[in-house]
Every structure is written in C-alpha cells, then in structure tokens.
Subunit: 514 residues, 2 copies
C-alpha cells in the first residue's frame, strides 16, 4: 500500500525451548511458512534447560527439521558468537522465507556450579556463585554499573541510524494517509453506512440471524475503513466474516484484507493482537463461540494490553441445535463478563448488531466480543437515532402502565421476552423489557440510570446460557431463566423447550413474583 521505502522493517522474535513446546508455536510457524513471511526472524535460545530440568526429559523434537517441514529457512549458530549471529541475520534478511536462527547457548554461562542447569532459570545465583561467575567472566564493574566503553558502544549503536530514521520520519510525516493508518484513525463518516443500515432495517422489518446482521455490517464497514482486516479460523461460511470485495492475503500478494487462518483459533487470537499492537490495521476474527476457549489466552492478553480486536463469535447458544453440547456455549458469556476490560456484546437484532460494531471499532483500548446467533430474530428496535447499546442495557419495550416486573434479556431471548410481555399484558400484567447487549457497559453507567432501567419491581432475567452472574441484576438465582448444565442435541427450538427457555416459563416466573 505505502511502498517499500515506508514499510520495510523486520520483526525479530526471541524465543526459548518452552515457547517452542506450546502448541501455538506450531500454529504460528505453519502460517508464517505458508505466507512466506521473510521479514520474520526468530532467534531460538537453545540452552536445553526449562524449569523442571533439561529439555530432553520433555522434548525430543528436531527443531531444525520441524521448521523446515513448515517452509522455513533455518540457520544454526554458536549463540555466543557475535560474528556468527551477525552473519546469520544478514543471511536471514535476504531469505524469501521466514528464518529460524538456532542459537546454541549455555544458561547462566560462567556460573561455575549452576551454568547449564535449571537452577539459573528462575532463582538468583546467590552471592558466592555470583562472585565466582564475575571472576570467570573477568567482569570487574560494580553491580548495575555499565563500563564506559560499553556504554559508548551502545550509544553509538543507538545513533548509528539516526540520520536514516530522521529521513524516514520526514517521509512518513508528509504522507497523511500513512499517519492516519498507523494511528488507527477512523475515516470521517466511517459509520454513516451503518446508520443507514439501521434505518433501512427498521423500515423493512427484516428478520435475520445476528451473524447475518454482522455480515451486513461488514459490507458497510469494509468499504469505509481500509485498515480493517478480517478472517476466520476455517469457518468463514458459518461466521459470515467474508463479504464481497474482500481479497485473501497470500504469499504471492499481501495486499489483501481477508486472512484464512485455518483451524488455528489460538494463533488467530495472537496474530490479531500482533496486528493491533503493530498499528495500521484493525483486526477482526471469527470462530464458533464455543471454540473461543482455544484462543482465550490471547483474548485475555488483548484485554490486559488494551487492544482494539473484534471477535466475531457465532453460534452463540444451545440454539445451534444438532451439533450438540460440544458446540453449544453455556458458560462462555459469564466467563467473558468476569474478565476485565473486554466487552461481551450479545445483540438482539440488526440495529443492536450495528451498534455493537460501532462501539467495538471506536473502543481503542478494549477488545470486543460479538456473540451472534445462527437462528433468525425479528427487528425489535423502532428507532436508531441514539446508539442505545452504548448504555449496555436499556428498556427496549416499555410497559403500557406502571410496570409490575422487569424482564431482562439478551440476544435471541429479547424477542422471547417481548412475546412474554405481550402475553402478560393481555392478562393485565404490565412489564418492562430490558435488552442488555453489554453488561460491562451497563455496569459503567451512573447509579440513577441503572435504577431507572432495572426498576424497583421484581426482575426476571432470561438468557440461553449459564445462570451464573445474573444475580447481579435479579438478586436471586431463582429469578434467572437459563441453564445449570451443558446443552443437548436436537433442533434448536426443541433444545430451548427442553431446557425451559420459553415464553411460557418467563410468563410463569413473572406471575410467581408479582
């Protein structure tokens, strides 16, 4: 996009024996090999030691052969030879593949009794061993004192490319588009098309699945925000993360915006973190909600680092039906609501889905989950002037009189709550229905807003997921209609009925409480 004189940096990775044992390393290196990421250079600190002892006790992998099997260039060096390392880097920079530089090293080099053992891995050497190590290495400077000649060499290295860097900066500053990109600036009017989509939906009263709603949003986002790069872990056709006009990134052509991650959720999460940290791209990625467990460690890091990453997680409840309990998320909503600094959206229709996308793209320091349905939902919102999802929860359907109860619901269960409201109204019972697309945002609202939404009448919550956590709003577990077990195999609506996630049960619960 911006040419090789503006974007031409290498990415260097320092990794250890443990990093290479974690499964995510295989997911990552196989993608890097496939994409021929020749600007990626990995140093493997091959010291043969992990916390529990020598590596051979837990691993016998021929790492060179392993990296070659996924299309990498490999170089082996003495990890203590500056000359060999420098030569390897130069060679790696010329490769048309990513490069592993295997550096044979000795952990705790110079410590007479502890070098080459796990005793140097996580504990201090101790005074005596440290003194002997200093003597072995001929190191005479005091602790934390850097000798002048070393300091001078470092500073020279820091200055070496100063002129080149200044020149690059000037070039960058003169390229406003580039500056906007790396600052992840959203273009003016970026959300105009989404606003139009909302209006159109309200007018046409379309009933679509919220995963489809998300795809409608993406059709309007991809044309407006060039930095947005999306993909799926081999479920694009189910997650509906691909829209017309997107181009797949390949080894032959990086100038695309669709990433085919393969069946590698964990690497997808980590790669999105890397993209968000790098800047210039706003990543989203899709898989089934239940499989988000595979990338949970990366999602936690996105939350901890405060990254703008969007997770498109479809098939969000027991409503997925026949695939059964392995594919039915139960505890997932609660588990992410408990995680700090991540928004868990479960929108109820196209309008809320568009609102969620808007918030997600504006949240520069918070990753967002969009938990989306496989099954269709009606359009419930009647007005889209204000992004009500920003409040986290709001009264989506008001009682015709002073409400005797409040029904709180999310996602596909909001229409169920509205149906219960109608039945109750017909028998003279007035209730408010609250849609709660994002508990985290609701919890951030002022107390008086929260009170005004939840009301003082008894509250019932309904969600086709674990009951756990809803007591925050209902006070009691008995007032939550949800699950306390794993799901079951069957048609979506039959599974709902089996677990009592029904209009009848909501009506019954409200009647009990008032």
């Amino acid at each position: 996009e911006f040419g090789d004189d503006l974007c031409n940096h290498y990415t260097y990775v320092m990794c250890g024996d443990g990093c290479l044992m974690e499964g995510i390393s295989e997911e990552a290196i196989s993608l890097a090999g496939l994409w021929k990421l020749n600007k990626l250079i990995v140093f493997w600190d091959n010291n043969n030691i992990t916390i529990d002892g020598t590596v051979d006790k837990a691993n016998g992998t021929n790492q060179i052969a392993r990296f070659k099997a996924v299309g990498w260039n490999t170089i082996s060096v003495d990890g203590r030879s500056h000359e060999e390392i420098a030569a390897a880097i130069e060679q790696a920079q010329k490769s048309d593949k990513p490069t592993l530089i295997a550096c044979k090293t000795t952990i705790g080099f110079g410590a007479p009794h502890k070098q080459g053992t796990s005793k140097v891995h996580g504990s201090p050497l101790g005074a005596e061993e440290l003194e002997a190590m200093r003597q072995n290495l001929g190191w005479t400077a005091a602790p934390f004192e850097v000798p002048n000649e070393i300091m001078a060499a470092w500073r020279a290295a820091g200055q070496r490319s100063a002129a080149q860097y200044a020149e690059w900066q000037k070039k960058a500053e003169n390229n406003q588009k580039f500056i906007d990109y790396i600052n992840d600036m959203l273009p003016a009017n970026w959300s105009k098309d989404l606003d139009e989509l909302k209006k159109k939906t309200i007018k046409e009263q379309n009933a679509v699945a919220t995963r489809k709603a998300s795809q409608l949003c993406l059709e309007n986002i991809m044309g407006r925000i060039p930095q947005v790069i999306g993909g799926s872990a081999d479920l694009a056709a189910s997650n509906l993360t691909f829209v017309a006009g997107m181009k797949t990134i390949t080894a032959a052509d990086y100038n695309g915006n669709n990433v085919m991650y393969g069946i590698r959720e964990h690497a997808m999460g980590a790669i999105m973190n890397g993209m968000a940290l790098h800047g210039g791209v706003i990543p989203y990625g899709g898989t089934f909600f239940v499989f988000s467990d595979y990338m949970r460690p990366s999602m936690r890091l996105a939350a901890l680092m405060g990254l703008r990453v969007v997770y498109v997680l479809t098939h969000d409840s027991i409503g997925v039906g026949e695939d059964g309990p392995t594919h039915q998320p139960i505890e997932h909503l609660a588990s992410y609501r408990a995680m700090p600094n991540i928004y868990t959206f479960r929108p109820c229709d196209v309008v809320e889905t568009a609102e969620a996308w808007q918030i997600a793209l504006e949240s520069e320091k918070t990753p967002s989950i969009l938990a989306l349905s496989r099954q269709s939902v009606p359009t419930l919102r009647t007005d889209s002037a204000e992004n009500l999802s920003k409040r986290g929860g709001y009264v989506i359907s008001k009682a015709q009189r002073e409400p005797q109860a409040t029904i709180i619901a999310t996602g596909t269960e909001v229409s169920l709550a509205v149906a219960a409201q109608k039945q109750l109204n017909e028998s003279g019972i007035a209730v408010n229905v609250v849609s709660m697309p994002c508990c985290e945002l609701f919890d951030q609202q002022p107390e008086d807003y929260k009170r005004s939404v939840l009301g003082n009448a008894p509250r019932v919550a309904v969600e086709a997921a674990a009951v756990y956590g809803w007591e925050r709003y209902t006070g009691k577990s008995e007032n939550v209609i949800g699950l306390n077990s794993f799901g079951a195999s069957g048609k979506g609506d039959e599974v709902y009925k089996h677990f009592g996630i029904t209009v009848e049960n909501v009506v019954k619960k409200v009647r009990e409480l008032i």
Copy 2:
C-alpha cells in the same frame, strides 16, 4: 504392571487436516514421539479439504517431515486401498515408534460434481448428486439398507476374535487387582493417612501455603492409591506436584507415576482426559492457575464427559506478587464456577486442602480444580471429624452472639475474614465467618442448610479475584470485596493492599451494612 498378555492393545486415531493444524496436535505428537508410544497408530485422512476450501489455502506443512521431526514412523498409502492399509497397520504394529499412516483420499468420492470439494464437508449432497454418486459407485441397495454379503462380512469380523477375547476376559476376571484398577476402585482405607494429616495439622497448627498442603496430601495419597498418576507442565517445583518416591515415566520405562508434560498445558489436559477414559489410572496435573486458560478446552471436555481428573492449579491470586498481571488470575474462579459439572475448590488451610483432595478422588463423574496459594495460611479448622468441604460452605468461625453480619470468604482470604471478625468483636460487633471452598457443592445443598450458613443478616464476601458471581450470595456487588480489573506487579501483601483486599476494608464494609 500386569504384563503384556493382559495389557497389549493398540490405540488407533482417525484424524483430519484440521486436527493437524490445531496447536494441540504438535504438543501431543511431540510427547508421543519422545515417549516412543509405539502402540499409537494415527490415520490421517489426507483429503486436502477443510470447510473453507482446499488445505493449501491455509496450510503448507509437509506432514511426513513434521512427524519425522518428532520421532515418528511414517507410512503413506492410498486411502482407498484395503490392501495397502492392512499392510501399513501390520508394519506400524511392529514399529518401535508411534506411526502416522498418511492416507490419500478424496472427500465425497464418487459424487460427480462435489467430490474433492468443501461442498461435501458439512452439507448433504442433495438428491440428484446422491443418485449420480450411487450410480458411479455401483451402489444399488436402498438407503440405510446393508446388503447381506456386507453384513455377513462385518459380522464375521466381529466374531473373528471372539475366542481370543473370551480367553482374555477369563484371564482378566481372575486378576482382582487388574479388575479393581480398570474399575478405578479406590483401595480400602485409602483416605486414612489424609485423615491423620488433618488431625496432626490441627494439633501442630502449622502455617503453610495451600500448594504445600496439597503436596502433603499427595505424600499420603501416592502411597495408598497406586492408580494415581501425576505431573506438571514444567512447573513441578512450583506446583509441588512431585513427591518423594514418585518415578518419572520415560520411553525406556513406562512403569512410573510421574509425567513430565513439558510446557504443554493443552496436551496435559487432553492426555489426562484420555487416561481417565481409558481407566486404570486417576490423573492429576499441575500448572499455574492463570495458565489453565491454555487447557480450558480440555477441562470443558472433562466436565462434559464426566471424568475424574484433578487440576492442581497453584499461584491462585494476585498474591503471587512480582510476576505481575500476566501471572495473576482474576476471572478464573468465576469462569470455572460458571462451567457445568466441574468443582472449583479454593481451600483455606491444610484441612480443607485434604478434604478437597478426598472429594476430588471420590468424584468419579466430575473433574476438580484445586486453586492453591503460593503464600502461607494459618490452620483455621479446629476439628476434622467431618469433611465440611463436602457441604461446599460452612460457618468456620461462629459469632459469640447473634450475628449482625456474615462474612463469606475462600482460600487465603478466610484468615483475613477471621481477623476482621476479631476486630469487629472487640468493638462489640458479632459476625459469622463462612468458608466457601466450593460454591458448586454449596449450591447443591438443601435450601435450609444454605440459609442456616448464610444467615439473614447482611452478607459481605471477600475474595482476591473478580467480584463477578458473588452477588448470588450477597445480593449486591457493593457487598463484595474483590477486583474489577487486572492485577498489578509488586509484593503480594502490597498488591492486596493496593486493591483494598484488607482486614480494614472488610471491617469497614460490615460497619456500613449493620
């Protein structure tokens, strides 16, 4: 243990292209290679198709080279040739390494327009294509009708080894120890030593970390229950999962009970599931609590399948100190409490730790998490006659008069709650302290028991973790002393103070409420 004429079965795995892309596959095959599991034979259905298209779009791995790099025997066959497959199996059975049999196949073979495409992956063929496929394959039988000659061949295959099997069964039935093993029978008096440990602890009033308490338990378990096999994902010295007398399983000698999983939490979880399903072994495995995210998918499957697996998860809170937020679990307790059919224990002292181990080992259909501390805790229990943890929660320290409030705490915070109780008592305020080592078990108790423990006075909960979920017992979030953010770097006690997890704050909250 039981000799090769009793235990001599092979394990066959059918896997696809997607299975081999998931990171866990590398963790698993590298361990299988290291351990030279030559009775493991994997068929790879190499059909070059995943849901989103041909494999080459998302993967370029040379699988043969990859498996060789981790010490496997590999054989390539035409996946439609019975002769080649049969010969490969015979060859694999003689190998001294695990074997990959790469089977080149065509997905949807015979379907004229859809074979070899992702259209056959997850959708029905449709009537027309199906009819053409039947013609291509010369298949004339009606749907769901098995032709007689095929049925006869299958039945013959089923009977082929009947005599051998009967002979084996007779041998097995005559070996009571073997029968007890494969039925996972706990030996008589298996928990006697644990009971002694509890009594001794109460007498001696030892203050130890609960991870150390768990090690004391293991010292008493390993000698009593030969089926128990444990290990750690390269954190044995921190998780304290290894005890004297344990022997590490290696390629040269399988007759051990310690597994060195390396830095592979996900494979550890999956391997423990496999062991529990196989029977004859009761597995436990350790890592830091925060790293349990890496094996969460396997933990969910253990819960879903109802397996007796024990997770020894140490460094259970912000109390780990200097390692900082990446190593400090926050949402983990809530996230597992929300998961169906898994016990989340957070014991407060040696007695509760031993009780948790006893329950975990007795729970044949439910996996158990032991969330254990790095920091020391005093012995709080004064009596061990009854396993009170079986109730999930109980009054551990009774008010001297009619209680004006109830303080609920878990793990390391129970002693903090008891200190607050003392301060409050000195200023004339009487409170009960409830220890809640396992919310899931508490929730299963009868209503009147729960009410008697929680009381009718205001309730305060304190736990050095996410507030989320405690409203089930306190009604309101404001009554929970915990965190709504990630942790921080610093000494454990300073981090506690920073987040207000202090005796002073518990005292203050109780004073506000009464």
